[in-house]
């Protein structure tokens, strides 16, 4: 088991290293280069050359590549020319907001997926199962940015129940419900497609488990439906769910970019969007890298969770 863990950890580290390399070459291969985005498209070639020299962009590739690694190792992610702040410090607060939103979303989506998936699997051939199935395909076909705008229109503009976006600023400080009131709409918007996708997958898993002999055997031993569902089916069906939750991390970020933009929620996705519009390279690069690393970590966590849940892996 320790060997398996070490191998997974090694794999994850290798993935991160490849990721860093990949991102480096993505920037390196960019036509124009960062200097234009700082100085504007109409900058004189001389000014561009000077800036390139200043940023070390005239060195050979391998030297730039090494510098890139050294900067990363020191935690130096560059300097944002549009925000006028070091990227690393810039990202901190945005990351905090995103993690807050994403944890709320993840908990809501997983909770909904488990409840709906169990119901769908248990009533696979009947009305509840079919209704849930229809809801799922609609749920994950709905673009978050569309749902977001409609939700703002209805709940914030028309009904004025909840704030349309942001995180509240100074006026909200001190109010105990404020962060939650601001989280409600973006979280619901982002959770909808995730819950739909997750519950569909989980529902199929549950349905397959219900077809197993051990479920019939458990019923034949006189166990009730609730005991079978929660004591037997849930655990076996949840095993692949752990992998899926790990794979959910990218979807969280993708949905996050759009949702945060719609709601003007100052998270990582929103920052990515702003820096893309303003062509703020260092920030853009850092966020792409950060999201990649978080994804690798998410998959690693899912792997480890799998190992814990599966007795066959654990004991072999």
């Amino acid at each position: 088991m320790i060997v398996a863990l070490a191998r997974r950890l090694g794999g994850a580290l290798l993935s991160v290293a490849l990721l860093v390399t990949l991102v480096f070459f993505m920037i390196y291969a960019t036509p124009g280069g960062p200097a234009y985005s700082i100085l504007g498209v109409h900058a004189s070639p001389n000014a561009v050359a000077a800036l390139n020299r200043q940023m070390g962009l005239d060195h050979p590739v391998w030297q730039q590549y090494l510098t890139w690694w050294m900067h990363l190792a020191r935690g130096d992610l560059g300097y944002s020319y549009t925000e006028h702040a070091p990227v690393a410090s810039l990202i901190g607060s945005y990351l905090h907001n995103t993690l807050l939103l994403d944890s709320v979303v993840a908990i809501a989506a997983i909770g909904a997926a488990v409840v709906l998936g169990l119901a769908q699997g248990a009533y696979a051939h009947r009305l509840p199962g079919r209704l849930i199935g229809a809801w799922q395909i609609v749920g994950y076909s709905l673009p978050t940015f569309f749902v977001g705008t409609v939700v703002i229109l209805v709940f914030a503009a028309d009904l004025a129940w909840l704030p349309p976006g942001g995180i509240g600023g100074a006026a909200a400080a001190g109010h105990p419900l404020m962060p939650w009131r601001h989280l409600a709409l973006p979280a619901a918007t982002l959770a909808l497609p995730l819950a739909a996708g997750l519950s569909r997958y989980f529902g199929h898993q549950v349905r397959d488990e219900y077809r197993q002999d051990y479920v019939r055997a458990a019923a034949a031993r006189g166990l009730g439906p609730a005991r079978i569902a929660f004591g037997h089916v849930l655990r076996n069906a949840a095993r692949p769910l752990a992998t899926l939750i790990g794979m959910m991390v990218p979807s969280l970020f993708v949905g996050g970019v759009l949702t945060e933009s719609v709601f003007n929620y100052p998270g990582l996705g929103w920052l990515l969007w702003r820096s893309a519009l303003e062509q703020d390279y260092p920030t853009l690069t850092a966020i792409v890298l950060l999201i990649g690393i978080l994804t690798v970590l998410g998959n690693l966590a899912a792997d480890l969770l799998n190992t814990v849940l599966d007795v066959r892996v654990r004991y072999d």
Binding site: A217, A220, R235
Partner: protein, 326 residues
């Protein structure tokens, strides 16, 4: 036969069919039989003949879309078909146990053997964790898994096929049921282990006075260990009788064909007999006798009237039985 015990299970006129098309011909049609305490009855038939459906109907666990259309199932003094789902659930596992063909899939892979036995015991009898643990240990020892009984928690994948089937039997016996239905319990096992499991079933039957229904497609196996044999064809009982008599003089042409298809134990036999054609599917049952299209004794009336089961010994359902020398 003469020293027969109390009747444990009595099934009368059991008919099972599709819920959506109650008018269609049944998957199990008008089946009646009894099993006494300490007796083993073997159901013999090809796949699709309704053996497993009968077991499911007795337990009230028919698959979705399949329904018991008629008939009664009595376990001792209780009419099971009259019970509510909740009351029936309390009987499953407590008064009757079910053993499956493949113990690897019929045991939950992520629960230990011990936990699965203890759970059954706990659900029906309550009591302390300790009592359930004691009970589990005793049961495992009884089915011949002494090492597992005294050892740590064991998961199904850690056991061999035969040991798994022993564990499966232990889960079915957790609450000392009076009836055990074993659905192809040895089909997934190799021959040596098969014999061990059958020995175990025979021993349990004798020691506990257990009524056993053995479901199998293997006539030789049925003949070697059952007291009585009931042959099913396309959902209907075609012949029933004491195993020795049955093996010597089967009356129904299908039973005889089945017996003649067995290789002889001694000597160089002639070419084995075979039954031409395939059994009919539930959607394509012929008029009259269901075996008629494949029957060597077939006559015109066979295609018109469905023969009824004789009420007295020898019991068979055929208009033109094999009466000559075997």
């Amino acid at each position: 036969m003469n020293a027969r015990g109390r009747i444990a299970l009595a099934v009368r006129g059991l008919t099972v069919g599709l819920a959506r098309e109650p008018g269609a011909r049944a998957l199990v049609d008008d089946l009646s039989f009894e099993v006494a305490e300490g007796e083993m009855l073997a159901f013999v038939g090809e796949s699709g003949s309704g053996k497993s459906l009968t077991a499911a109907a007795i337990f009230g666990l028919l698959p979705f879309g399949v329904r018991r259309l008629a008939g009664s199932v009595r376990l001792h003094d209780t009419e099971l078909t009259a019970l509510s789902e909740r009351a029936l659930r309390a009987r499953r596992g407590r008064d009757m146990g079910l053993v499956f063909q493949n113990p690897l899939t019929a045991l939950n892979p992520s629960h230990s053997i011990q936990a699965q036995i203890a759970e059954t015991y706990h659900v029906h009898k309550g009591g302390t964790r300790r009592a359930a643990k004691e009970r589990t240990r005793a049961l495992l020892a009884e089915v011949g898994l002494a090492n597992t009984a005294n050892g740590p928690e064991t998961y199904p994948h850690q056991l061999s096929g035969g040991m798994r089937q022993r564990a499966m039997i232990a889960t079915a016996l957790a609450c000392d049921p009076t009836l055990l239905i074993a659905d192809e319990p040895t089909t997934a096992l190799d021959v040596v282990v098969q014999a061990q499991i059958l020995d175990l079933l025979a021993r349990l039957r004798k020691e506990r006075g257990l009524a056993v229904v053995l479901i199998t497609h293997d006539l030789a196996l049925a003949a070697s260990c059952a007291d009585r044999i009931l042959v099913l064809y396309a959902g209907r009982a075609v012949e029933e009788g004491c195993a020795a008599r049955f093996f010597k003089t089967p009356y129904h042409p299908y039973s005889r064909a089945l017996r003649d298809a067995l290789p002889p134990l001694h000597g160089q036999g002639a070419r084995l007999a075979e039954i031409s054609g395939l059994p009919p599917g539930p959607g394509a049952l012929p008029r009259g006798c269901r075996f008629a299209p494949r029957c060597p004794n077939v006559q015109n009336d066979c295609r018109e009237t469905e023969p009824a089961m004789r009420r007295t010994e020898p019991r068979f359902a055929c208009l033109h039985p094999c009466l000559g020398a075997p």
